[in-house]
Symmetry: C2
Subunit: 372 residues, 2 copies
C-alpha cells in the first residue's frame, strides 16, 4: 500500500509539501533517503538515522541479492528486521548497479546476464527476477527494472533502451499484486526531451504508485540534468510521488524540490563524510584542513547533531587524521543531519509560503537555479 497526500503547494515554486504513507510509516516530502547499500547506512545505527530525522532509507537490491542473498533475508524476516530498521525502505531494482558495477553485462529482451563484482560468478536478472528479489526483501517501495542509457547516448540508443525499459516495466507490473509493497515506474529517455515526454506517457499508461526520473546524474553536466528534470517533472502525474534517482548536492535538492520532485537519494552525504568532506551552513569544508587544528568551535553552530553539539572542529580533525572509526561515524551523522535539516527547511518554507531563503542557502544555490 502507498498513499500520497499533497498538503500544500509552494507560492514561489512548483514545490509540493506532501506525505507518503507506507506499510512501515510516513515520509514527509520533499524527502531525502540515505543510501543503505548492504543493509546498513554506512557508519550509522538505525537510532542515529532516526535522530537525524531520516524517515526512509534506500537498499540496493543488487548488493543484497549477491550478499547475503535475498532468500536468506526473507528467511530472517525481511530487510526491515534484518537491519533493525522498522520504518520505510525503498529498494532499487538492481538494474543501475548491474550496468555500472559489473563487466560485460549482456542484455537481451529477456533480461540481463552479468558477473558478480564480488567473485565473478554469473547471474541473470529479468524484470520478474528483480521483482522476486525485492519481494523477498520486503521493501515498502520497489522499483521497476530498467536499462539506463549512457548520458552521451545517441537518440536511437536512448530510444531503444527506453522501449526495452517500457516492456520490462510492464512485466514488473504484471508481477505486482496489491499488498504491503508499492511499485514505482522509472522514466528514461536520455537527455532528449521528446523521448522523456513519450516515456512519461508510456509509463503512466501502465500505471504505477509513483514515478521516478532515472538516467540522470550519470555523467551529464549540471545544466543538462536540470534541463531534463525541469522538462520532465511537470509531465508526471500531479497526485503521485515523484522521485529523482541518485541526486544530489544541497543545491540540487533545493532546485529540484522547486520543480516539484518529492523524493531523492544520494550517496553524497555518507561518502563525502568518510572522505572528510562536510556540509555546513557556510558551505562545504574538508575537516583535514590545517585551519581546524586548534579550532575549539563546533563544526556548524546551526546544527543540532551530536558531532556539532559535543565536539570541536579540532577533535573531528584529529579523529580523521588518526583514521579513527569514531571520526567516520560523527562525520556521517553530521552530513545526514545536515541533509535532513535541509529538507526540513525546504518543507517549512513551502508550508509558510516563503522563498527558499533559510540559513545556508547562499552557500549552495546553483547558478543554473539562480538563472532558471
Amino acid at each position: 500500500m502507498l498513499e500520497f497526500e499533497i498538503l500544500k503547494k509552494h507560492r514561489y515554486s512548483d514545490a509540493r509539501l506532501g506525505r507518503v504513507t507506507t506499510s512501515h510509516g510516513v515520509i514527509d516530502t520533499p524527502a531525502f533517503m540515505p543510501v543503505g547499500t548492504r543493509g546498513t547506512v554506512k557508519a550509522m545505527t538505525p537510532e542515529d538515522l532516526i535522530a537525524s530525522g531520516s524517515q526512509i532509507v534506500l537498499g540496493n537490491t543488487y548488493h543484497l541479492y549477491l550478499r547475503p542473498g535475498h532468500e536468506l533475508i526473507r528467511e530472517l524476516g525481511g530487510l526491515h528486521r534484518f537491519m533493525n530498521w522498522h520504518r520505510p525502505i525503498l529498494t532499487d531494482s538492481g538494474g543501475f548497479q548491474v550496468f555500472s558495477l559489473t563487466s560485460l553485462a549482456r542484455v537481451t529482451e529477456k533480461g540481463v546476464e552479468f558477473k558478480s563484482h564480488l567473485d565473478g560468478s554469473t547471474h541473470f536478472f529479468s524484470p520478474e527476477r528483480a521483482m522476486e528479489v525485492q519481494q523477498a526483501l520486503g521493501s515498502d517501495i520497489m522499483m521497476t527494472l530498467d536499462e539506463p542509457a549512457p548520458h552521451d547516448a545517441e537518440e536511437s540508443v536512448a530510444l531503444a533502451s527506453m522501449n526495452l525499459s517500457t516492456r520490462w516495466a510492464r512485466r514488473c507490473q504484471a508481477m505486482h499484486s496489491p499488498g504491503d509493497q508499492a511499485l514505482f515506474g522509472i522514466v528514461q529517455g536520455g537527455m532528449f526531451p521528446d523521448l522523456r515526454s513519450q516515456h512519461v506517457e508510456e509509463m503512466v499508461d501502465i500505471g504505477f504508485e509513483g514515478y521516478a526520473i532515472g538516467g540522470l546524474s550519470v555523467g551529464e553536466d549540471k545544466a543538462t540534468l536540470l534541463k531534463v528534470a525541469r522538462h520532465t517533472a511537470p509531465l508526471l502525474p500531479t497526485k503521485k510521488p515523484r522521485y529523482l534517482m541518485g541526486v544530489g548536492t544541497p543545491g540540487d535538492l533545493l532546485a529540484l524540490s522547486g520543480m516539484g520532485i518529492d523524493m531523492f537519494d544520494c550517496v553524497m552525504p555518507t561518502r563525502n563524510a568518510r572522505n572528510g568532506s562536510l556540509f555546513t551552513s557556510e558551505g562545504k569544508v574538508n575537516i583535514r584542513n590545517t585551519r581546524f587544528r586548534d579550532d575549539a568551535r563546533p563544526l556548524d553552530e546551526h546544527c543540532p547533531c551530536p558531532a556539532c553539539r559535543n565536539y570541536s572542529r579540532a577533535y573531528l580533525r584529529h579523529l580523521f587524521l588518526a583514521d579513527e572509526i569514531l571520526g567516520l561515524h560523527l562525520n556521517t551523522v553530521h552530513n545526514i543531519t545536515f541533509y535532513q535539516n535541509w529538507m526540513a527547511n525546504i518543507r517549512q518554507a513551502i508550508l509558510e509560503d516563503r522563498p527558499f531563503d533559510f540559513t545556508g542557502v547562499e552557500s549552495y544555490r546553483l547558478e543554473e537555479d539562480a538563472e532558471g
Copy 2:
C-alpha cells in the same frame, strides 16, 4: 584527589569490593578500563561507553603527545573535554609505548630518547616530561614513567631497570602536587619474586595514591604472569587501589580479581571485536563462522547490549564479511558490554559472598586458576 574505600572483602578469595573516587566521579572496583589510545575508544561514542557500564577509560600519553599534541589538548580544555568523556580517565606514562612501539629508544639516567612511529622525528621523555604531558592532558590518574624489562630479562637486567624505575618514580612524585590529579607508582622487578618484593617496598616508601603491577603480559606465559601477580598483589598496601596493567582475558580478570587486584585495562575486547572475535557466555566465537550464516538468534542471549538486543548473528556476520563500519561498532559495543558485565558479576559475587560461579565462568576459567 583520589579516595579508595573497601566496601567488602570476599569470603572465597582475596578479592575486594571497592570504590575509587576521583575528580570526575566514581569507579566501582574491581574495574575494567577500556583503552582509548588516541582520545577515543575505537568504534564507540562516550554514550556507548556509559551504556556499556564503563566508568573510566585509559588514554595513551605517548600517542596523544605525538598527535594531536598535549599542548593542543590543554588549550582545548583537557582530554575530558576534547573527547567529550566527563568521567574518570587514567593515562599511562608513555613509557611502555616508547619501548615497544619505537625503534632505537636510548635510555640514560635523565630519560629516554626515541623516534616517533608516525614520522621518525626525535623526542625525549623524562620523568618530568611524562608528568608535564599527563598534567596537560588533565587525567584523573597519572602513572609514573618506568622502564619495563623484557619478560625474558636476566635478573641483573631486571634489577637495573627496576632501580632506574625507582629513581624515575621519585622524580615523578617530586613533580606531583596535591590537586585534582592522582599519581600511581608502578612496581617492576621482572619475573623475580625477590625483586618484586624489594620494589614494592621502595615504591611504598616513596608513597603513591595507588600502585600498579607493571611488566606483566609482555610475552611471558600465563602461569608466570599469575605466579608473579599472586606473589606481588598481597605485598601491596591494602588500603590503596591495585592496578594490573595490560591484562587480560575474562579468565585473567576473574583470577586476578581473586588475588585482590582492583583495576585492569586491556585492548583485547576492542581489538578482538574489530577482528570479529566476540566474547559470549558460551565462550569466544568468531562471527565469520559459516555456522552463523542463517542464525537468527542474538549473539548472546544473556547480554543486554544493543548488538544482542536488536540484531541476529546472521546480520553481524553479514556486516563483518561486508567490511561495514556498523559491524565493527556493534562488535565493540558487545565485547565491552561483556567485559563490564563480567566485572559487575565479579563485584556482585564479592558483595553476596558467593564463589565466582556466574553464567559463563566455565567457558573462561583458567586452568592455572582452578589449580591455584
